[in-house]
Every structure is written in C-alpha cells, then in structure tokens.
C-alpha cells in the first residue's frame, strides 16, 4: 500500500467514527483522539474499521500505536502485500 492509499483509507475509517471531522487540519503527528475528540470507544471503532478495510489484524499494541495519522500510515504501508 502506498502512503497516499494509506492516508485515504485512514480518512475513510475516521469519517465513519467522526462524520464531522475536518481531517485537513490535523497535523500528521497530532493525537487523533484529542484533535477529533474521540473517546476510547470511538478509537476502538476506528481501529476496527481500519482492520476491516485493510484486512490486517490489529493487536492491542498496534491499536495503541495508531493514535496519529503518521503512525497509521506507517502501520498500513509497512505491512506486507497480502496475497
């Protein structure tokens, strides 16, 4: 997955949780939970949505590491291409 594709997937996943989110204003290393006012249930839903869209399992540790846009892109792009 290219970084652009990753960003697109992240945006789509975030919009399912926070339909009113203005992602253009969010810095790559800002905490999404603060920027978009997500609570732990929202954040879990975001991680689940990302997992569903990418087909990648998201462990609890992975989930903790998804708090910024940059980390999300990193998580999605470093994954091996699925068969």
């Amino acid at each position: 997955m290219t970084p652009d594709e990753a960003r697109e997937m992240i945006s789509a996943a975030l919009l399912t949780v926070a339909p009113d989110a203005e992602l253009g204003d969010v810095a790559p290393d800002a905490d999404l939970r603060e920027e978009l006012d997500l609570d732990s249930i929202d954040f879990q839903a975001y991680a689940a949505e990302l997992s569903r869209r990418s087909g990648l399992p998201v462990s609890e540790d992975d989930q903790r590491g998804l708090t910024t846009l940059a980390a999300g892109v990193e998580f999605l792009t470093r994954a091996r291409v699925r068969p």
Binding site: D39, S40, I41, Q44, A45, A48, S51, E60
Partner: protein, 494 residues
C-alpha cells in the same frame, strides 16, 4: 382499549415531537413493538408501545409537539372490538404525566414562552395560556387532541387522521362542551365542520381552523407573488390578501415583513435549536438536582494493575472490535457494588427512598457536538465483562449515530459518568434525579504507588461517588466505594 401516550424518556424530558409513525390505523401491534419515532430535546428515539392490539386511531400527527402523557394513539383489543361509543364518558387520561417525577409537567399551559418552543406564533385567537388545562380530558370524548401547538402550517394541512372504522350509519358530530364554547366564541357553525378527532369528533383544532380565513398559501396566490415570496424568503401562509377576492398579489408579498425564520414544515428541529433545547433540558434537570438534592461526595483511588492484567487476558482472543476497555470492568464493579449496597440503587420519590428492582446502570454519554444522553444498561449485574462491553459499545454507538429505543433511556437506578477519556483524574458529578447516587470515573493513569512498603508505578483510577444525603449517609457511600475497590483488585471475580 388502551391509550398510547407520549412517554417520558428521562427525567429531563417534558415534551416530545412525533417525527414519524411506523404504524397506521388497522395495524396489529404487540407490546414492545416500535410504533413511532419521537424527537426529544436530545435525540430521535424509537418508541415502543406497552400494549398489544390493533391501532384504532392516531391522535397526534407528525411534526406536532405535545407534553409527556398526551395520548398519541388508541390501541384496541386484538379481537377487533370496536371502540366504545365515543359519547360514553371515558376514563380521564392522566393530564399530568404519571411517569414523571415533577408535578408541574404540562408545559404547554405554562406561561413562559420557552416552554413551548415548537409552537408557532398563532395568528388566530385562543391564547395558549388559557386557564383551562391544555389537555382537555374533562368529561368528554373530545380526544385530548394536541391543543395549543397544533401547527398552523397551512400548505401542509394536518391530514385528518385516518377515518375510524367505517360505520354504516352517519353519526352526528360529537362535540365536547369546551369545543362548543369555543365555537360560540369564534362564531363557527359546528354543523359545517368535519371532525378530525376520534370517531369524527370535532376538536378545538377543527374549530380554530374553521375560524381562520383560509390561508392564502393554500392556493390563491398569483404566480408572480409566489415567485417573489420565494425570492424574498416570505412565508406565503402568513400573508393576508388585501384585495377582497382573497387573492394574494405581489404587493401583498412586498408589504409583508420577511417571515421570522420561517419554520420549514419539517418535523426535524434545526441543529441550532436542537443544541439549545438540549442545553435547556440539561440545565433544567441539573438545576433541579442541585436545588433539591443535598449531595455529599466521596473519592477513592484504586490500583488497577490486577484489572488491567485481566483485561489483557480477556482481550488476547478477541477481535479488535470486541475488545474490552477498562471502563467495562469499572462499570461491572459498580453494578455489583450497587447490588450489595441497595440503599444507593433506586429512586427518591415522595420524600422517601424506593429501592430499585435490579441494578439498571445509567451511563452518561457525551454526544458529538455537545450534550449528554444517558442510556441504560438494564440488569447490569447479569452481564459478564465481554457482554457488558458489547452492550456499552452498542448503546454509545447508537446514542451518537443511530437511534435508541425508548426502553433504553428509562429505568436507570444509578448512573455512572466516565470522563477518563478526556484525561481528567476525577469527576464529581451531579446526581440525575430522582436517582440517589452518581459514580464518577476518571482516567487510568500510571502513578507512583506504595505496595507492601515499596514504591512502584501502577495504573490507578479515581472513582468518586456523589450521593443524596437524604437517602444515605457518608458511611453507606464509603462502603460502596470500598466494595468497588475490592472487586477491581480481584478482577477474576468480575
């Protein structure tokens, strides 16, 4: 025969708007079926009926706001029995919502304008604050039909409720004494009216409608006037023709003032009004809480390391969308503690405490864009941690994005508010009347912690209790927090 009334979906609700009917006259319904969607100050809610039978009549049309307790529909018995003759005196519908704690609960008849936000300024007579109660349940058949706020939205005349089951013989119009009096005052000939009430009864609204000259918006408007009105944002229904033929012309449009925020004939309240209505509902209830309830507050900080270890174990085999969050264990501990300290689990009504049957945990959920809604986890002690988490997730998700059922907003015996996600260490909440206790949960934080004479770093959470001093003393509250702490330190029991 039963009446389906506007339910009270929380102590902060005193009126609601029917947005949509999901049934029509003639439909068979069973207890628990969702029959209508009702908009409260906070959310659109799927409302279930509490009787089984056949819908005989719909009394309140979509878009109309009525006080809690107002009959919305008539449900007949399943054997298809016809409604009793309308002229027969029927039991008085409760004018004061029974399920609501506050006695002064008929907002439509109250003088403050704020209490009737949805009703439009009425051009015609009949002051809203007439001395007679807004719901006219008195002796007669006149269906307690939505008096004051009956919207005078001419272009969409409130459609007459579907006619009652076809009756072989025409019946004389049924008229209650109050309606008769009104018709006399307004000079309306009752024999010319078509009653839209139950069994063809003539309602106040019918009389009022007849007393008003036919609104122009309904038809007699010149095309140019219509276009001009659209351009200027003028509500045609508010314009009276100056010419004697009753046709509204462009001049009439120009001389009329722009309509004050023309309410679209849409039952959905605009966002800004919604936010305000929600603020008002919360303001009213919280002010009442602080006015009436002598709160006392307790706080304790709990070592969560055992609970967090238990969570990791639970979550190892769960997919991300079902993982259990720390709050679920805290909620479960609170529910079990409430069962063990029943003095904190229930309602304060009529100057005494009424213990709850089962622990029904209210859970304060903040909505995106502001406001609070408190769905209820019924029988919370019966759920294991994973099921409880599923329930919490479902309720929170629907509270924010989907729709809750009426039964999911009522019956809480104790409430928990969780501000941990916002990073605060502790929250001392305001009790949700008529409950007597509110538990506040802060963030799970790593903190220096002394264990067995040594200092270590542990995940800790501060749990607080706000409780009603009329119902309990601090000693009882302390016992509750102690049990919560014990349960969280032995999470294998949770």
């Amino acid at each position: 025969m039963a009446e389906f009334t506007m339910p009270s979906l929380g102590a902060d609700m005193d009126e609601g708007t029917v947005i949509e009917w999901l049934v029509k006259p003639g439909d068979t319904v069973a207890r628990g079926d969702v029959v209508a969607v009702v908009d409260t100050a906070k959310a659109a809610v799927d409302v279930e009926c509490f009787d089984s039978g056949v819908i005989e009549d719909i009394l309140v049309q979509p878009g109309v706001t009525v006080p809690v307790g107002t009959p919305l529909a008539v449900i007949g018995s399943e054997d298809g029995a016809k409604p009793k003759p309308v002229s027969q005196p029927k039991p008085q519908p409760a004018a004061v919502p029974v399920s609501q704690p506050e006695p002064a609960a008929v907002p439509v008849s109250q003088p403050e304008p704020a209490a009737v936000p949805v009703s439009q300024p009425e051009p015609a007579a009949v002051p809203v604050s007439q001395p007679e109660p807004a719901i006219v349940p008195k002796p007669k058949p006149q269906p307690a039909a939505v008096p004051a706020p009956q919207p005078e939205r001419a272009p969409v005349p409130v459609p007459a409720p579907a006619p009652p089951p076809p009756s072989p013989r025409p019946r004389p119009p049924v008229v209650g004494p109050l309606v008769r009096k009104l018709s006399a005052e307004l000079g309306v000939d009752l024999t010319t009216l078509h009653g839209t009430g139950r069994g063809g009864a003539i309602t106040r609204a019918d009389v009022q409608r007849a007393a008003r000259p036919a609104p122009a918006g309904r038809g007699k408007v010149t095309p140019y006037a219509r276009r001009l009105a659209k351009e200027l944002g003028v509500d045609l229904t508010r314009i009276t023709a100056s010419a004697s033929d009753g046709i509204v012309r462009a001049g009439d449009v120009r001389t009329s003032k722009p309509a004050p925020v023309t309410p679209e004939p849409s039952p959905v309240t605009p966002v800004a009004d919604k936010a305000r209505a929600m603020r008002e509902a919360t303001a009213k209830l919280m002010a009442r809480s602080k006015r009436e309830i002598p709160h006392y507050y307790l706080s304790t900080t709990i070592d969560m390391s055992a609970a967090m270890a238990r969570l990791a174990e639970l979550n190892r085999d769960l997919p991300v969308e079902r993982r259990v969050l720390p709050i679920a264990l805290v909620l479960r501990a609170c529910a079990r503690a409430a069962a063990k300290v029943p003095q904190l689990n229930g309602l304060w009504t009529d100057e005494h405490f009424e213990p709850g049957a089962g622990v029904h945990l209210g859970m304060a959920v903040s909505l995106r864009g502001g406001g609070l809604i408190v769905p209820v986890i019924a029988d919370a002690t019966e759920l294991g941690p994973v099921e409880l988490m599923d329930r919490v997730r479902d309720l929170v998700t629907r509270a924010r994005g989907g729709r809750l059922r009426g039964s999911e907003l009522t019956g809480a015996t104790i409430t928990v508010t969780n501000l941990g996600d916002r990073g605060v260490e502790s929250v001392f909440g305001v009790i949700y009347p008529p409950q007597v206790a509110l538990v506040g949960v802060g963030k799970v934080l790593d903190r220096p912690w002394a264990v067995g004479g040594l200092l270590g770093v542990r995940p800790v959470v501060t749990v607080t209790l706000s409780a009603d001093h009329r119902a309990t003393d601090g000693h009882t509250g302390a016992r509750f927090l102690e049990i919560v702490q014990k349960l969280l330190s032995r999470p294998e029991e949770l």
